[in-house]
Amino acid sequence: MLFAVAAYLAVHFGAYVLVLRHRAGLRSERGIFLYHFASAVFVGLSGIAFAVFESERFGLSGLVLVLSLHGIYSLSFLELWSLAQGGYSLAIIAGVAQAEASGKEPDFSRLEAIGQAKQTDRIAGLEKLGLVSGTDGRIALTARGGRIAFLLHALRNWVEPSGSRKG
């Protein structure tokens, strides 16, 4: 089973490298997320079946191992994809590098425009996920958004107790 999962992940990655990365559907956040999510569900269900029918040799440890392997692969892949696709800090470095190469000052107004577009885009995204609601021109947290915001705030305080409150 373990070799089968390793081979499956190699095929999953190979199919992306050889064919799927050129498709428009997998150049969107939603598309690439679904490609990995569907695969994780498939591997998870196969793992559960093995854990039930091969409980002696595979069991819960086998299921955890298989899901962890897929989780590490997908999380690493999606983090790199997401940074390459829209990392704001990376866009700033690229902006400074381009300005340096052409002997000009960095065009911060263009970067600010990216920030403005990101804000608008993210508000729409958060609204779609049901985390914020926009009524009468006001943006407010929904109950679910409030819980997520509380967790993010707690995590932020845990990791950066005296740091900046904005990012």
Binding site: A149, L152, L155
Partner: protein, 155 residues
């Protein structure tokens, strides 16, 4: 149970990371976590393989610990720097008029905060009032330019 040491090691790593963030060190939050997480991981590998050998119960806790650590790093970097996460935490103070949002969390401020972090991390430096990408910053820039091409995300 074979998986318990992984969960305990992870809980200890998170606890020690929180304490390490309250100590004055010239290391960013990710490096501080690695300083704690890597030795704990090495200890877990040693204990797990010594106890179960190179078997499924031997490898499962190691991979679980690695996944939890990666997830934790992802979540706290998200909480610290993601635009969406910052918006959500800001909205905890109360509803905001959509037209006023940009003045509270303005794009210029977004750029300046990130620029400060990039300079602090040694990717960009100020040379005679001008900004310049350092060698380290150029490496990062080239790596991500290559990744953009690999993912077919345009130049």
């Amino acid at each position: 149970m074979a998986l318990a040491p992984a969960l305990l090691s992870f809980a200890l790593a998170v606890l020690l990371h929180g304490l390490a963030m309250r100590v004055p060190l010239r290391l960013d939050s990710v490096r501080r976590f690695l300083l704690i997480g890597v030795p704990l991981g090495v200890a877990l590998v040693t204990v797990s393989l010594a106890r179960f050998g190179p078997t499924i119960p031997g490898f499962a806790p190691i991979l679980l610990y690695a996944l939890l650590c990666e997830l934790y790093i992802f979540l706290f970097t998200l909480a610290l720097s993601s635009v969406s996460a910052t918006m959500l935490t800001m909205l905890r103070r109360g509803p905001v008029l959509a037209s006023e949002f940009a003045s509270i969390y303005g794009p210029r401020e977004m750029v300046m905060l990130r620029l400060k972090r990039i300079v602090d991390n040694g990717l960009i430096e100020r040379k005679a009032e001008k900004l310049a990408v350092t060698g380290k910053g150029m490496k990062v820039h080239l790596i991500f330019a290559a990744l953009r091409r690999f993912f077919c995300l345009g130049s």
